[in-house]
Amino acid sequence: MMIDQELVTLSRLQFALTALYHFLFVPLTLGLSWLLAIMEAVYVMSGREIWKRMTQFWGLLFGINFAMGVATGVTMEFQFGTNWAYYAHYVGDVFGTPLAIEGAMAFFLEATFIGLFFFGWDRLGRVAHLIVTFLLALGTNLSALWILIANGWMQNPVGAEFNLDTMRMEVSSFSAVLFNPVAQSKFVHTVSAGYVLGSMFVLSISAWYLLRGRNIDLAKRSMTVAASFGLASALSVVVLGDESGYTVSENQKMKLAAIEAMWETEPAPAPFTAFGFPDLAERKTHFAVRIPWVMGIIGTRSLDGVLPGINELVEEAEQRIEKGRVAYAAMLKLRENRDDAAARAAFDANKADLGYALLLRNVVADPALASHADVQKAAVSTIPNVPVLFWSFRLMVGCGLYFIALFAYSFWLASRRELDTKRWYLKLALWSLPLPWLAAELGWIVAEYGRQPWAIEGVLPTALGVSSITSAQVLFSLCGFVIFYTSLAVIDATLMLKYVRRGPDGLGLWRDGQVPATGAAT
């Protein structure tokens, strides 16, 4: 049966939109939770009330954001089953485990302790409450760990084998899944991005207060914490970004080639194309500005490692598809007759490329009837959208380098206690607020759009993973999400703005008689 491309595209669009939306709220939760723990630790150690007010104020904003993170996260758990049911069947044995462990280890931790974070100030001692805040932060970060182990497995499906009797991938080595180098670098890179985002949130809003001459003590201290935490995180993001790139060069060569718009295999060490306009149809990059040697050194960490270009990888895909077809045909015969020794031998010899045969299902209904032209078409389908990846990556990296510069300067000013002396700097900090969000979303676009056409690299094409539902159903849910999520975003933004504008001074958080509460309602 031919795959319904309309259904596939709608399902992909829905997953992309809901995932990108979810990731608007998650990184702030990841980063701000640690900032809260740091501020509260200073309070407990120094006894100064202002640090408690800081924790409570930023905690209020954290709570507004956390609710949206939870709400949009439930959608993601559902969506693997509702819209990607065959994917859930095909890889659920491997993929479901990290998700379940995420629930048992991380979700319970963060969800149980967040209640006490807000409601336990009067019931718990200082140290006990600090531990609560710490466990909350730990829970959110452990959650990121497990979901990124799952995503890392999608990029590099180690430790699993195809089982003919159940027609699905099954775990052969869970430790391989856990210690997948892609997952490790991805985890540290992603949480670091969250830390940068959380730091920028605090930095920008504090800068706004300083520009207005409000909450000066609170804002300066907050900025100091944000500057140091942000600098460390910004450096970490870039270093781990490099590590992620290296694991991509080992395990997802087509993705790397697409990000670099590297059409031909360059002699080692390959140059880095800093700027240019990649053309997918013609397979060349116009107005390319190349920096010699840089890509080879970064991508292979050597002077003689060769990075295959897109054209070479397409030829390689053709060969893998041919081998995959042998496995596919053998699989069909084995289903009829388990004891067919010749088929079993053919299957075992070629099953690593079974996924490549599945690519043919996008082109013809029956892989066995595919002509050479069909095979070529399927091989070409392994090229992701090069221009989008090329620019998304460069924009993201540009933002990342800017963050290092901004936080380094902030750290410098903070250590000299000059945070409130330069208005141009405060305005820059304020206007930089949206950039970490942009960078984070671009990063996910590179990671996920770059893996296409695969849902599981080399194992399951995305188009084959969809549920057997109608396009009408997906269009219904997609419209539903647009309406619903847009409404929630507006409400979330309204509340955030309102509480930021009111600020700690307007919210009556100073009960020791320093600044009187204004007490006004709305």
Binding site: M1, E6, K333, D366, V482, V490
Partner: protein
């Protein structure tokens, strides 16, 4: 933190009604964008031929492929 409840709702004031209008416009605009996206980029894509004849021939072909795959 004192947040007293009053009888008068901000949402009933002219400012509040403007807020509703902005909200509604944003929703309508996004839905329109989505539908345009659908009709321009997604609907014209090839659709699976699920007529009985096509399904039958696909099944026959699959059957034939298994036989053909004999070495």
């Amino acid at each position: 933190m004192r947040v007293a409840v009053s009888k008068h709702s901000w949402f009933r004031t002219p400012a509040g009604r403007l807020y509703y209008r902005h909200f509604g416009t944003l929703l309508a605009a996004k839905l329109a964008l989505l539908l345009i996206l659908y009709f321009v980029f997604i609907a014209p894509q090839p659709r699976a031929d699920t007529s009985p004849a096509a399904v039958f021939s696909a099944l026959v072909a699959q059957d034939g492929a298994v036989r053909k795959a004999d070495p």
